[in-house]
Amino acid sequence: MLRIDYLSIAGLPPLSFEVAPGQCLAIEGPSGCGKTRLLRAIADLDPAAGHVFLEGVERAEMSAPLWRRRVRFVAAEPAWWAPTPRAHFAAAVKLDRLLSALGLEQLDLDRPLSELSTGERQRLALVRALADDPPVLLLDEPTSALGGTNAALTCEFIKFQILAGRIVILVSHDAMQIDRLATARLQLSGVPWPHSQQSVAA
């Protein structure tokens, strides 16, 4: 269970909600209303007042790297810290199933990332995010660079992750995808919350 308790993000009222294993919460709202910032705050990538618990343990009770190994934020535009895909994975990790589930079984992991298509890189980012098996996935527009078959394939892949018991929070502009995946929805308004200035820590 992932529990968010009075999490304060500029422009939004303090948010409290829960997502259980095997559930997917879709966050909806107009561009710039704070969807990405909410995901980043849950992953503790931005300072935000409030509490976030995973299985009853507050994030401050563990180191931030350990928290982010469990609560994995997947950015809409993945960035890479090494030249090839392989350099992003631990040597022992088995990737075959993840790669083939996303239609990447033919991909040469030693090819420079700059030679891959945007869509291949976005699916590869999901493989990277799941390689160390985090219980929570925070997905920001996971299919924004994908079209047709690959978008559907990725959607099914995420569905499978939910069914397998992962906790998923999804930000997406794709209404069909939200219909297919979400077990609950959180609607954020585009209007800035009036008292947000007071509740946000410096």
Binding site: P47, A64, P65, L66, R68, A75
Partner: protein, 266 residues
């Protein structure tokens, strides 16, 4: 000519060479003569002022005077460091961080070289302390500003990469080490270059000055070596302090990137 002090007339003779430059400018209509005259007068005034101030300070027995001039040198260097930074830290840190690294690296290298290498007694003898402090601060300043430039530029440009590493459970040090390495390389490469070409292209200034003042050339070379090692060491120390401090300032204990601690561009 004899070694030792120059007469005022000698200065006028040297200035005649400058006058030739001025005449050339006039003859060819380069319109540089006014700038040249101002620059020459500035040189004369500035150096004369420094000469008289140092003479006065050396003549005082009170270390307070020495401390006062040292403080002045530190604040001028700190101000210059701030001027060279394109992206500054917010608030107090903008001035404080640069000054702290200057004080640490410059102070340590200066006191070490005056007290232990040159063996001046007492260690705060202004004749040794102040010239060395000025040189050390000058070279430390350059490497600190190179580190800060690389660090603040890079952290903004590579934000996505750094945060990807953090998001995948990396510590702030793992995420920032590539940038840290690059900043240190950028800052120290010129220092090593200076060491490797010393004496090849031109005689270093201190050595030339000592030889002209009548010192044995081998002694002058040794003195130059000591100075260059001290300057290079101080630059490296300053670069390291600035790089580590910068990384700590631009991230926090929860291993987050804190670009909000940089002031807006300008």
């Amino acid at each position: 000519m004899s070694s030792g002090a120059l007469a005022n007339g000698d200065l006028i003779l040297a200035a005649c060479l400058l006058a030739i430059n001025g005449a050339l400018s006039l003859a060819f209509g380069l319109r540089l003569e006014l700038g040249l005259a101002i620059a020459a007068i500035r040189t004369a005034v500035q150096l004369a002022v420094i000469g008289f101030v140092l003479k006065f300070v050396f003549a005082q027995s009170s270390p307070l005077w020495t401390a006062g001039v040292a403080l002045l040198l530190f604040s001028v260097a700190g101000y210059e460091l701030l001027q060279r930074q394109q992206r500054r830290f917010k608030g107090w840190w903008a001035y404080g961080f640069g000054n702290a690294t200057l004080l640490f690296a410059g102070g340590l290298a200066t006191v070490y070289s005056v007290a232990i290498v040159l063996g001046a007694r007492p260690w705060y003898t202004p004749r040794y302390l102040l010239p060395i402090l000025a040189m050390v601060l000058g070279s430390t300043l350059t490497s600190i500003s190179a580190v800060l430039q690389t660090l603040t530029d890079g952290i903004e440009r590579e934000r996505g990469t750094i945060e990807a590493r953090l998001a995948h459970g990396g510590t702030r040090f793992a995420a920032l080490v590539p940038l840290l390495r690059r900043a240190l390389r950028t800052a120290t490469a010129p220092v090593f270059n200076v060491l490797s070409v010393a004496g090849m292209v031109a005689l270093p200034g201190v050595m030339t000055g000592q030889i002209l003042a009548g010192a044995d050339p081998v002694d002058a070379a040794k003195f130059q070596m000591v100075l260059m090692f001290v300057l290079a060491g101080a630059s490296g120390l300053g670069a390291l302090a600035a790089a580590l401090g910068g990384v700590l300032l631009l991230s926090d204990h929860r291993h987050r990137l804190r670009l909000d601690r940089l002031a807006p561009d300008g």
